[in-house]
Symmetry: C2
Subunit: 305 residues, 2 copies
């Protein structure tokens, strides 16, 4: 069985937090792992509202240093300290994030009781950030006003499952089982051949999620996020405000749809809506001319990947 792999949206708004919408933060769950993508102000309150256990987060990824994407981070790190966290935490983010964090804790005279590893992201190239047994996380360049990266979470092949009916009656050695589960045909000392195809179920297709927080329209994304199962792409403006989108290095709903189509993704999730739009139906209508299926991200909703 494949591990659970989903994303829960804690915030889907840009700029000023209005219309009951909050700044960007997402929880990606992969099996037992819990990853946080961006950490806008109020993330802790949102997490509690939607029954996310923040203590489980092991890796935090910050796309860029505009406040609506990270101003909840110092508060979260402080809360970890108050709740006596000891588990290590790794934070990936642009140059400057470490200075911001250490400046806060220097002035509040805080000594954290758990280890933080800070890894500086690179907004020029795609880079492998995390390589776990069953998934990897990459950063890739986004085109915004300041250095910005997206994040790609990609499933890796794990061990195959044995077909019970086939192995019953066979006395398979531990070495044989290990080999078959790893996808390698096994030759016993007695000359018997155990074929992976015969004794194991086929592997499920690999799943992938791409997070494009803030970016102008960029066809170059195809190189990084082609054919992902779920693409979260910012959709700050409608075409009617295209001049504003260009000025601020953001995308329109139409452009988000075009990127989804160009990259051949399975499904598009729109977010990072400007506070100027109370009603988001026109976002969906505009993007669906370019691509389907699309969902307007909703806070508190979990999307399967």
């Amino acid at each position: 069985m494949s591990p659970d792999f989903d994303v829960t949206i804690l915030g889907n708004t840009s700029s000023i937090p209005v219309h009951g919408r909050n700044h960007t933060a997402q929880i990606v769950r992969f099996g037992q792992f819990c990853l946080l993508l961006d950490c806008g102000e109020g993330m802790q309150i949102q997490a509690r509202k939607y029954k996310i256990k923040v203590a489980r987060i092991s890796h935090i990824f910050i796309s860029h240093l505009h406040g609506d994407h990270y101003l909840g981070l110092v508060g979260l790190l402080s809360s970890y300290n108050l709740s006596k966290r000891t588990k290590a935490l790794t934070i990936f983010g642009p140059k400057g994030l470490d200075e911001i964090i250490t400046t806060h804790f220097r002035w509040s005279d805080t000594k954290l009781g758990y280890p933080i590893t800070f890894v500086q992201t690179d907004s020029k190239n795609m880079n492998l950030l995390v390589d776990e047994k069953l998934f990897q996380v990459y950063s890739f360049p986004l085109q915004h006003r300041i250095p910005t990266t997206g994040f790609l979470i990609r499933e890796k092949y794990g061990l195959r499952s044995l077909i019970k009916e086939k192995i019953e009656g066979k006395e398979l050695s531990i070495a044989a089982i290990k080999s078959l589960r790893a996808g390698i045909d096994y030759y016993s000392q007695e000359g018997e051949i155990f074929k992976v195809k015969e004794f194991t179920y086929p592997l499920p297709p690999l799943r992938a999620y791409a997070f494009c927080s803030d970016t102008k329209f960029d066809p170059g994304l195809k190189e990084y996020i082609s054919k992902v199962d779920l693409l979260y792409h910012e959709s700050t403006f409608l075409e009617q405000d295209r001049d504003r989108a260009e000025l601020t290095f953001h995308s329109t709903a139409k452009e988000a749809g075009q990127i989804a189509k160009l990259c051949g993704v399975k499904k598009l999730l729109l977010g990072h809506f400007s506070s100027r739009y109370a009603n988001l139906d026109p976002m969906l209508a505009e993007a669906e001319i370019e691509f389907k299926p699309i969902e307007i991200s909703e806070e508190g909703q979990t999307y399967q990947i």
Copy 2:
């Protein structure tokens, strides 16, 4: 008629934001003025919930640099920029707050479109920070783990109101009216005496509000906040957790009651409750043994001063 003078609580919790409670932030309204005392994370969302217009805020006062008292500030300043604020803003806070703010805006490459004056507070002495026509704001020392000040907002005498029935039929010169309203008896060139007592209503008593954000039990507060109409005093712990209060330089509910009694205040408002207490009734019970009247501060509630 006296100007409106009240305080609206936007957050009343310390440490981890749980039980639906938020970090410290308060709006003090004095006539047309709108002052913000502390600015915990999520202040903007809370302000919107309780229909506070943040654009009206002219002065921000930060008591100290523990995250639960200021982590909403950079987000608020960013929102002002996005909403094209041009009105000047004055921020009072401890050394370091300016470095924190400028570090954020340096990395986000933000140029603010409105002027900010930063005034560094002094946690050793009482100081006059704001001297407006009808009120003053002072900072005064609190005893906490890092440099911390409380704030005192004190009404000043304004102009007296003339008693209509008394002045009817008298031909009072502008000079006479000015003099009487300023509280000075007026002697006309014709030798007539116009007594302030006779021609104007008595001045209403002066009102004052004191905000003690984070402090250990400190009888020295009497020097600064004696006889205020409303005292907001932190009440982080119950007596049963006195060891924790002492270790962290916080007060118990009982101690807050003792301070109110010692300072001869008219009313006590408790706040800054630890996340360990879901039910706050015992706070009230414990403090009321020492002093009455007391209210447990509630988010969204406005308290007259």
